[in-house]
Subunit: 360 residues, 4 copies
Amino acid sequence: MGNTFGKIFQISTWGESHGPAVGVTIDGCPAGVPIDEEAIQIELDRRRPGQSDITTPRSEDDRLEVLSGVFEGVSTGAPILLMVRNKDARPQAYDHLKDVYRPSHADYTYQAKYGHRDHRGGGRSSARETIGRVAAGAIARRILADSAGVELVAYVRRIHDIEAEIDAASVARDAVESNAVRCPDSDAAEKMIERIKQLRKEGDSAGGLVELVARGIPVGLGEPVFDRLEADLAKAMLSLPATKGFEVGSGFDGTRLTGSAHNDAFYKDGDEVRTRSNNSGGVQGGISNGEDLVCRIAFKPTATINKEQETVSTSGEETVLKARGRHDPCVLPRAVPIVEAMAALVLVDHWFLDRSRKLS
Amino acid sequence: MGNTFGKIFQISTWGESHGPAVGVTIDGCPAGVPIDEEAIQIELDRRRPGQSDITTPRSEDDRLEVLSGVFEGVSTGAPILLMVRNKDARPQAYDHLKDVYRPSHADYTYQAKYGHRDHRGGGRSSARETIGRVAAGAIARRILADSAGVELVAYVRRIHDIEAEIDAASVARDAVESNAVRCPDSDAAEKMIERIKQLRKEGDSAGGLVELVARGIPVGLGEPVFDRLEADLAKAMLSLPATKGFEVGSGFDGTRLTGSAHNDAFYKDGDEVRTRSNNSGGVQGGISNGEDLVCRIAFKPTATINKEQETVSTSGEETVLKARGRHDPCVLPRAVPIVEAMAALVLVDHWFLDRSRKLS
Amino acid sequence: MGNTFGKIFQISTWGESHGPAVGVTIDGCPAGVPIDEEAIQIELDRRRPGQSDITTPRSEDDRLEVLSGVFEGVSTGAPILLMVRNKDARPQAYDHLKDVYRPSHADYTYQAKYGHRDHRGGGRSSARETIGRVAAGAIARRILADSAGVELVAYVRRIHDIEAEIDAASVARDAVESNAVRCPDSDAAEKMIERIKQLRKEGDSAGGLVELVARGIPVGLGEPVFDRLEADLAKAMLSLPATKGFEVGSGFDGTRLTGSAHNDAFYKDGDEVRTRSNNSGGVQGGISNGEDLVCRIAFKPTATINKEQETVSTSGEETVLKARGRHDPCVLPRAVPIVEAMAALVLVDHWFLDRSRKLS
Amino acid sequence: MGNTFGKIFQISTWGESHGPAVGVTIDGCPAGVPIDEEAIQIELDRRRPGQSDITTPRSEDDRLEVLSGVFEGVSTGAPILLMVRNKDARPQAYDHLKDVYRPSHADYTYQAKYGHRDHRGGGRSSARETIGRVAAGAIARRILADSAGVELVAYVRRIHDIEAEIDAASVARDAVESNAVRCPDSDAAEKMIERIKQLRKEGDSAGGLVELVARGIPVGLGEPVFDRLEADLAKAMLSLPATKGFEVGSGFDGTRLTGSAHNDAFYKDGDEVRTRSNNSGGVQGGISNGEDLVCRIAFKPTATINKEQETVSTSGEETVLKARGRHDPCVLPRAVPIVEAMAALVLVDHWFLDRSRKLS
C-alpha cells in the first residue's frame, strides 16, 4: 500500500535512511532494454548529498547494485532490483531528536499513524527513499529516449525570490549541470548560490520552483478521464518530499488571462498540427498534443533549520528544539534529477498504456 | 483504463455528453450506508448548468436514477450504479464544429489518440462526465460525515483578478450558496458576477481559483511514499476538465518564505498536538495531522468563446472558428461541488485504506 | 472491491436479480472495435433461462442496451456500458425463502458479511450477474478473433456420471449448439438430457464438467510469476457461481503419470516448434506455447432442489425448507457461454498486457 | 506486471535462480507485527532442497536477511524486504541445457516471450522464486494466527497412485513434519517414499496432490463477485510451478453427486450456524462460512527426468536431451510449505479487505 507507482512499468521503493539499504523493484520493464549501470550511477550522483558546497556535507557513496532482472547488461523481462547500501549513517547524530517532533516534518504524523517512528534521519520519510525513484527513472528515461525519442530536462527556476529567465523550448542539460544550483541562467544561479549560503549562515533555509520540460512526446499519451497525463504527473510530483504545488502550462498565472488570450491557436507546420502558443503545456483534454510538456513544482523551504523552534515532545510536553543534523539549506538543486525521474516514470508508463490497446 | 478512481471505494464513470446517459458505478461502498437520493440530487443540481444567469442557459434536468446496490434506502455492499439520462442535447447545435478542432479543447488529441471524435459537445471529454463524480462524491461525503465527522467546504476564491477574502477556518456552506458565483465574500462575489457578465458580453471568458477546506479529518490518513494524501488530491483535482494547477497549504506562495517563517510550530491544546500556523495545509509527510486540510485548484478560462479563432480543420486546412455553442463564460461556480466531490472521494478511500491495516 | 476483473480490458459487473437492471462497464476496450449488438445478443440468448425443456421455465427477455462508448457501431475508446433490464421477476415467488438460509447457497454468508441479504432470487449472488460477463466476453471474443485469430469453444463434457467422448482439437461450435445440453457427443447428450429430466422429476439436481478449448492463441501470453495464464483462468472460472474446481491440460488425472509419460516432447512442424502430446494444455511456465489451450471446470449440482432440507432460519431456529422457486436442475448447458466469455476476457487482457511491452 | 500479488498485503517477488539473490518486498504489512526471523527461517528450511534423501541433493543454505521495514523486531508499516542470497549455483552444471528446450519446462515459452532465456536452472521460472513467497507467507500466517486465530496445515495427500487417509478436521502439523514426504498417514508415507526412490532410480518422477486445511477462519472473508475467496485461492495455487489443477471442498468428485446428497444442511451449534457436511469446503457464494476451508492442488510429475527425451534445439533442430541436473523426483514434500504460504497470503489479504469497509 502506497509504495508502488505505475500500472505497466510499475516500481516499488523500499528502505529507510538508517536501515541496511534502500532501493527499488521494477516490475514491468520489457525484456531487451540495455541497463547501463553507469548512466544510472550518474543520476544517483546528481541526487547525492555532498556534491557541492551548497548541499549537505553528508558523504553518501550511493553505489548502485543490481540484484535481479538483468543478464549480460540487458533486461530479461523479470523484476529488476536496484539497491544502494546505506553508509555514513551516524545515527547518534540524531539522538537529540529522539524525543521531540520536528516542526513541519513527518515525525508527528508517522508516530500517530504507525505507532512508532524512526528518529534517525527520518526513516522512511527520508529523502534517501528517492534513490530508488532516481534509479528506476534512469531506466524509464532510456526507454523513452531510445524508443520514443523523448528528451527530459528539469532545472531550478526560482529560489526564494530569485527567479531565473530560461527558455524552456531550448534549454539543454549541459547548461543545467554547469553550476551547483542547477539553474541554466548563470546570473540568477550566482545570486541563488549567494542567497543559499547567506541563509545557511543564518541557520535558515529556502524553497523555490523546479521547472520540467519534456520534448518529443508522441501525440496521444494520457488516459482520460482520471489518468490524464497531467493528473498522473501531479500525483508523481506531489509524492515527493517537501512539495506543495504543481502546475502545467500556464498554471496559476494563466487563470488571470481571458479565454481569448489563453487559448492556443492551431496552425499547420508541414503535415503537423501545431499550436502557436503553449499555454496548455503540451496536454489537452488530458492527452499529449505533441507540443513541449512544461510543468513546475513548488518546493517548500527545508524544514530542518538551525534555529530554535517551539515544539512538543513525544511524551506530550511543550519544548524548544534546536536542530543540529547535517542537512540541505535548499533541496532544489538535488530535486532536479528526482523530478526528471518521476516525469520519466509517468511518461514511460503512459507510453506502454497507450500502445497496449493500439489495434494495428 | 483511465476511467476508474480509488482503491477501496472505487468509482468508474461512464457516458458521453450526447449518448443516452451518463453515470457512475461504485465498487466498494460498505453495506449499511444510507443512500439519500435527495442529498445526491442536491449536489447534482449544484453542478447543473442553467442554475443562474451567469451559467450556460442549457437546461439539463439531471434526474438521478439508482439502478443497483441499494435496497430500501441503504447500500447492500454490491456495486451501486447511479445514472442520469441525457436530455436537451440538440446535437445539431454543434454541427458547425464537426470539421474543426476547437483551440485548447480535447478535439485534436482525442482524434489523434482514438482515431475519431464526437463533435457533439465534447463526447467523453464533456463536463457532463463529472455528473458521476458528483453523485458518487455525495455518498462518500455522507460516509465521512457520519463515520469520521469530516466536513468539506469549497468555494470560489478568485475569478480573473478579483480575489476574495475568506477565512478558511470558519467559512460555512450557507455563505457559499448565498450567491450565484459561490464566493462567500459577498463584496467580491458582486464584482465577480459583474466581471463574468462583462466578459460574456465581449464573447470572452474567465478562469480563477477554487479553494477547498476539509475540517475534522482524523490524524493518519495518507499512504506514503506515493499515495500521500496531497498526491492523491492533486491527481483527483488535475483529473478535472480545465484545471492547470494544484497547491496545498502555503502552496506556491510559501516557496518565497524562509524555513523559519514557514515551519508550523507544535503546541499542546489540551491533550491534542496542534500547530500554531498551518502552512502545511493539514498534511505532513503525506499524512493528515488533524489540522484543516486546505488546498487550491487553478481553473483556466473557458476555452469555448464567441470570438474568431485561428485553427485547423479535421481535413488539415487552416481555418477560422467562431464558436456558437451554449457555454459557461466561467466554470468556477459549477466547479465548486465537483471539487468537493473529488476531495470526498479521496478522503473516504484513504480512510478505508488506513483502517484496513489497523490491528486492534 | 471484488466486482472488477482484468487489468487493461477491465470489466465491472453490477446489478441484482430483482433490481431494475443488470449490466457491465468495460473500461479499456480499444477504439475502433466493431460492436455487433446482434452477436452479443446471441451470446446472451445462449445464457438465458427458458431456452429448452431442461432449463428453468423462467422467461427472461434479456434485451441488450448499449448506453455508452459506442458511436455508429464502433467503440470510441470510452467506457462501454451494456445493460439488460430485469423482467418477469415475481419477487413474491421467493417469499417462502425470506426467513430461511438455503443450504449451500450464499444466503447465510451474505447475511453475515453484509448484515443483510436479498432473498428475492439471490440478489447479487444470482446467476443473472453473469449477464454482464457474457456481454463483455462477446466483445473480447470479437477482438481476439479479428486481431489474433483465436477461436474459443466450450461444451459439456460430463453430467453426473455420463461422460462424453469429444475430440478437443476438432470440436466445432455447431456441434455444441446442436442439442439442448450443449454436448457435442450426441449419444451422450441424449443420455444427459434423460438424466436431467429424471432428476428434475425427483426434485433433485446434477453437476458435471464443462471443457473449454481455445485454438490459435499466440505464443507468449501470460505474465509470470503470479499472473500466469492458467492462474488467471483458474481465478476467472472459480469466480463463477457453483464452481468447485479447475484443471488445465492433464489436470488431476495427469498427476497419476510419471514424468516420462507426462512430458510433452518438442518437434518441428515446418518452422514451428510444436509438442507431440499436450498434457501441458497449451501453457508452459505460465505462458501460452501455441498449442490448444484446454481446461475443465467442475460445477456442483444445483443447490436449489425440490426436496425437504434441514436448515436454520434467519432468527436462528432450526427448521425444514422445501424450495419451490423456478430453477435449473443442471446449470451446465447455460454455463457453456459463460465459460467461453470468461476465457475470452482473460485472453484478451493477456494479449493487451503482452503487447504493451513489446519494444518494436 | 505479473510479479505482484495481493491488494492490501501486497507482495512482489524478485530474483533468479542464478543471480545474486532472490527475495520479496511486502507493501502493506501493518505496523506493529512481530517479525520473527527464526519462524520465517523455519519455513524457508521446510522449502529448502537437500532436506532429506528424497529431495534434490543441492545444498542451498537459504539464510534470511531483512533489509527494510523492521525495527527492533517489529514491522514499522514501511515495505519489508526479505532476501536470500544464491549459493552453490554451479551454473556450469547447466551447460548442456544451453542450446536445447527442456520438454514441459518454461524454456521455450520464455524464449518466445522475452527473446532470451536463462538456461542456468530456469532463471525466473525456477522454484527458487518461491522463497520470497514462503518468507512473506510466514508473516501473513503470524498475523492470521495472532489477530484472527486462523491455523493452516497442508500435507501430501497423494503421490503417484498412493493415496493417504487423512482427517482434514484434526490433522496437525507435527504429524505432517514426522516424515520426509510430509504425509501424516505414516503407512502411506512409507510407500510414497519407496515409490519416489524407485522412480528416481529409474530416472523418472512423480506428481500428486497436496491438500490444505485452514481452521478458525472468520465468517465473511471473500469479495464477490470476482474476488471470491476460492477464486483467489485458485489463482494463488495455479501460480505455483508445476500445478495443473485446484479444487475446493467436494471438488471434481462432488460433481458426481446429486444436489440432495451434496448440499450442506445447516444446524445450530450453540449460538453458531454450522453445516452438517462440508462439501462447500468452507466457502459459500465466494465467502467463508466459518467451517474448515479445504482445498487440493494437483502437481504434475517433475519435468526434469534422467531419461532421453525428444526435443528441439534453440537453433531449431530436432535433437535428443538427457538431463543431468540435480533435481527432485517429486516436488510435493517441498511444495507443502509453499501451499501454506500462498493460502496465508490470500487469507490475510481478504481479512484486511473485509475489515477495511466495516463501518463502526
